[in-house]
């Protein structure tokens, strides 16, 4: 990742630093331009730049994070549905109800990924 310094961090207008670093406690706080947008970071005495956290994501980075969040959310929904199906089948078993073909297909989907006919 490459970064360029945009400006110094101004505590009067920007507020306190959003992230603290033990190693860079004495370094100059700066605003950086980086691959995913605008970053808060530090500049040491040798002019080396260290990103700390993203302040504003650029469009591509925001889209990537949204896509990832959607993927995770979909997985969560799948997991919830899977557990719901399992719970329904378990309830049938515990009630002594015979499983029908739909139930067997649900089981097959859950564990085998195939359909019974």
């Amino acid at each position: 990742m490459s970064f360029t310094k945009t400006r110094n961090w101004d505590t009067e207008t920007d507020g306190d630093a959003p992230v603290q670093s033990k190693r860079l406690a004495d370094a100059n706080c700066v605003v950086l331009d980086g691959p995913n947008g605008e970053y808060f970071g530090w500049e040491d005495a040798d002019g080396n730049l260290f990103p700390g956290t993203i302040l504003t994501e650029n469009t591509a980075a925001a889209a990537a994070r949204t896509a990832l969040a959607t993927e995770i959310s979909n997985k969560a929904a799948e997991e919830t549905a899977r557990l719901s199906t399992l719970a329904a089948l378990k309830a049938k078993r515990e009630a002594g109800t015979d499983l029908d073909t739909d139930d067997l297909n649900a089981l097959a989907d859950l564990f085998l990924g195939v359909a019974l006919t």
């Binding site: 990742m1 507020g15 306190d16 630093a17 959003p18 992230v19 603290q20 670093s21 033990k22 190693r23 860079l24 691959p35 995913n36 970071g41 080396n48 260290f50 990103p51 700390g52 956290t53 993203i54 994501e57 990537a64 994070r65 990832l68 969040a69 995770i72 959310s73 997985k75 969560a76 997991e79 919830t80 557990l83």
Partner: protein, 234 residues
Amino acid sequence: MAVIAVTNRLLYHVETLADLEALGTTNGLTSDVIGWVEGLKSWVYPETLSASTSTWKSFGMTLIDTVEVTAGGGATSLTFSGLDGNNDGTYYLTGRTSFSASNPVLEARPNGLTTNMASVMEGGVNSSSTGWIIGGWIIPEGGTPDGSMHLDAWIYPAENQHGSSSTRSGRRLYHGIATQIPASTPSVSTISVGHVGGSWNEATTNMTSLEIIATLGTMEQGTQFSLYKLEDQN
């Protein structure tokens, strides 16, 4: 009874590596100097010793950095920079966080990259191809830990870890364990513990930074991570 014989070797207690370097070069030594460096909280010795260009190794664990979210509104990412994965040895990552949103997944990304990554949590219940999962919501048995999380992980960051001529060269591996606690009052039925692990499969890039990113919401104020290195394992 233990006897320690020291011949032409000097032990120092100094604040910084620069102090140790100055003492070593002033005494005309080449590599026979060992120091406890307060700033690193570690014993350190030089591989090569010369003014302003010394290279160092440490005994045991050395703190690289501790980063903490201080903003009231939280932060979506934290970065450890200035790393040298090929020479730092083994990394140990530990930290705690809480989230402003439910369903978070926390990923660590070498060099901030999202490519050539593969990681899983607990046998594939949760997985990622954009980073190294170090904690997450989707866990076996359907827990909903959207509150807080503690984790630790070991990372082997060097290229050529299997030998430069190996067809498996370039695989950087990690494993860890995360405890996740829901926003509601913790109970034995809602706390979950998940194993995580995976790889970054890229043969020609040194790891120079490690980004920690929340894929949903933000890591709240007080989130803190520390990264250590264990150079003797290099």
